[in-house]
């Protein structure tokens, strides 16, 4: 499978693992920033194959997980309106708001549609001039440019019945917040390659120098992760702390100028709340003044929403790398993908979901580990 198989090759993985094992002399804690990386690690069992001294801490980079409950509730309220067609990426539909989710809104008659591109939502707006079409614009630097492009197109084409419910967040301020935490144990970062493919690496050297942590730009296939770990561990063992691009096939140092221009035109930096973490200064985007008329929050005046986070949910600590998912008392009991307390258990990139889906065998005391009889068959 071109471009995928090449980065899952077991023989190359073994060589990288051997190198990491040979390099490590003492314990190191690395944070993979992105939930997509977390899922690759858990799904392929990479953490089981690394030396015991290398601990992977799961970071806050799941766009679904960090979308504040208040924004989810605003989405639910807007999507419930009879004149609205509410469009979203698929994985937001199961995320619990206060008491319900978008699937439930749909089952109650709301017109909630899964789209694969924000431009699909714009097309729906063109096809339904008598109705308001809202796109749920969440995510990191990866999804922000196409969403910005969609608003730009809406304005250019004079489409008035389209708006964006926006909750975009930025990675570097989150890394800064994690490193400033007194309980932070992170000694190096595997930065999210797709974020850097848009933004470039310009924001990272200062972070790496200030906090004396290596930052390795890393992709999402198993070999990408192993190469990222290898380079981070090498730096740590040598006492270095530089920015290293291990995802050069996708990331140019300057990023994607066209995407950056679009972001700058349509959005402006703002403080943002992260679900389970709180407000991080300058960590988000909102529509700039020129495009404010396309802001769904303004158009639908969704204010006065009172949110209630379940007291048992400790996803905030999971998102900051302070707690492993299975160390939460509610994990697998009160909180499962079927009845999640927090978004980390329901998002396809959530760390809790990864542990629940792929690691129950080791985490459930009642079951036994894979026995020798489960060896490869002829």
């Amino acid at each position: 499978m071109k471009y995928i198989d090449e980065f899952q090759d077991p023989e190359l993985a073994r060589r990288l693992l051997d190198d990491i094992h040979a390099t490590v002399t003492r314990p190191w804690a690395l944070m993979e920033v992105c939930g997509g990386q977390t899922h690759t690690i858990i799904r392929h069992g990479i953490d089981q194959l690394l030396p015991e001294q290398v601990e992977l801490i799961h970071g806050p980079g799941c766009p679904v997980c960090v979308t504040p409950l208040e924004v989810i509730d605003k989405a639910l309220e807007i999507a419930s309106r009879p004149d609205v067609i509410f469009c979203s990426f698929g994985d937001m539909l199961r995320v619990p708001g206060t008491g319900r989710d978008l699937f439930q809104v749909r089952s109650e008659g709301g017109d909630v549609r899964v789209v694969y591109s924000p431009l699909d939502a714009l097309r729906i707006a063109q096809d339904n001039p008598g109705r308001e079409v809202v796109f749920f614009g969440i995510g990191f630097e990866t999804t922000a440019p196409p969403n910005a492009m969609t608003v730009y197109q809406a304005k250019k084409l004079g489409i008035r019945n389209f708006s964006l419910l926006v909750s975009h967040v930025r990675v570097p301020p989150a890394i800064e917040a994690i490193m400033r935490s007194p309980s932070c144990r992170v000694q190096g970062f595997l930065a999210a390659g797709h974020v850097c493919s848009v933004m470039g690496v310009g924001e990272y050297p200062e972070l790496a120098a200030r906090h004396r942590v290596p930052i390795v730009v890393t992709g999402f296939e198993p070999l990408d992760i192993l190469e990222g770990v290898r380079r981070a561990v090498r730096q740590l063992e040598r006492g270095e702390h530089t920015v290293d691009n291990a995802y050069a096939r996708a990331v140019r140092p300057e990023g994607n100028p066209a995407a950056l221009a679009m972001l700058e035109d349509v959005f402006e930096v703002t403080d943002r709340a992260w679900r389970g973490i709180g407000v991080i200064p300058d960590s988000g985007w909102r529509l700039s003044a020129r495009y404010r008329e396309y802001d769904a929050e303004h158009r639908f005046s969704v204010t006065g929403i009172k949110t209630l986070e379940p007291a048992e949910c400790r996803s905030g600590e999971v998102l900051q790398g302070l707690l492993k998912p299975h160390e939460c008392e509610a994990f697998g009991t009160l909180c499962t993908p079927r009845s999640p307390l927090g978004a980390t258990m329901v998002s396809s990139e959530g760390a809790c979901a990864a542990y629940y889906l792929y690691r129950r065998l080791e985490l459930t005391p009642a079951t036994t580990a894979v026995s020798p009889e489960a060896s490869p068959v002829a």
Binding site: R43, H44, D47, V64, D91, L361, T368
Partner: protein, 329 residues
């Protein structure tokens, strides 16, 4: 909608709502088809309803599905389908020419599968209350002597064989329904499996269980067998045949091919001593060319399906909750 996805929600609906309400020992077995004894004759009896958008897709149509789906449910009991019933629910306004194309496809699929449509029914619902055409089929067939296919017969050591490349039907439907193009045309694998099953049973009637992994994909079928048999299942991810186009489409959308629907594949649990001969016979059949041993039943972790990853790690392969949802990025 999740309750129709073939995952945990579907199973709960059947086990906790329908089965208790209807009662009956036969239904409680919850197989793809019911194994009956009538006048000393062993029959397989099955029904399924077909709802698909669009009605015509690369590699088939709702008419093909309505025949092959029910024929395959019977085949998973070892039975060759003999007769089908066919109920059409038409939406007011659907063009007669569309209905005619569906009917022709259904008739052709029945002839190809060697089954006769013996009885039928037609209803029309108001415009806006359907997707053009819904079809229900039921089928009966004889179960050969000496054949007893049930998950309860699975024992540790059984070899797990899949009959070919997985995920084709689900990706073909996504490609046309969502307007997604993956650079390569993907056609549904929609096919009747009765002939392949007969080929396998000719090698040995002592197959333990067969399932056709439709909604919920291979993961759902393996989980059903693990749960019903009380054995664990280990599969080796690298041995599961996934076509490049399916793998790429799933990678783009953030889906797992193990959970994507098939309409012309089966998974078999075979006693280890017969596995090589069964595999050879399958590979000699047109619908089993890419058959592969993908794992085994084990006594460890009863009821759980575990995958050994290509890199040597392990992970649980869970029953999906509902439909898989494409990822944001």
């Amino acid at each position: 909608m999740g309750h129709g996805g073939g995952g945990a929600l579907s199973a709960e609906l059947v086990e906790h709502l329908f089965a208790p309400a209807f009662g009956g020992e036969v239904l409680a077995q919850l197989g793809d088809s019911a194994a009956l004894s009538l006048g000393g004759v062993r029959l397989a009896f099955s029904t399924d309803s077909y709802v698909v958008r669009p009605l015509f897709f690369p590699g088939g149509s709702i008419g093909d599905l309505a025949v092959n789906g029910t024929v395959n449910d019977l085949a998973m009991s070892g039975a060759a389908a003999a007769y089908l019933s066919c109920g059409f629910i038409l939406e007011e306004g659907v063009e007669v020419s569309v209905v005619a194309r569906v009917a022709e496809a259904l008739g052709a699929a029945a002839r190809a599968a060697g089954v006769e449509v013996a009885t039928g029914d037609t209803k029309v619902v108001e415009s806006g209350h359907g997707d053009g055409v819904y079809i229900n089929t039921a089928g009966i067939g004889l179960i050969p002597d000496g054949v007893d296919l049930r998950p309860q017969r699975v024992v540790p050591g059984d070899v797990v064989i899949v009959s070919g490349e997985i995920g084709l039907h689900g990706v073909a439907i996504m490609s046309v329904r969502e307007g997604l193009e993956f650079g390569v045309d993907v056609e549904s694998d929609c096919a009747a499996l009765g002939g392949l099953v007969r080929t396998m049973l000719a090698v040995t009637p002592d197959l333990h269980v067969l399932r056709d992994p439709t909604r919920g994909g291979l993961a759902a079928s393996l989980n059903e067998i693990a749960a019903a048999s009380g054995t664990g299942v280990v599969i080796h991810e690298g041995r599961v045949p996934v076509p490049a186009a399916v793998g790429n489409a799933c990678a783009i959308l953030g889906l797992d091919p193990l959970y994507v629907a098939n309409e012309g594949k089966l998974v078999a649990f075979v006693p280890r001593e017969h596995a090589d001969a069964v595999l050879d016979a399958m590979r000699a059949h047109p619908l089993g060319r890419h058959a592969a041993v993908i794992g085994e039943a084990v006594s460890a972790h009863p009821g759980l399906v575990v995958a050994r990853t290509g890199l040597g790690g392990t992970r649980v392969v869970d029953l999906p909750i509902g439909e898989q949802l494409p990822r944001i990025c």
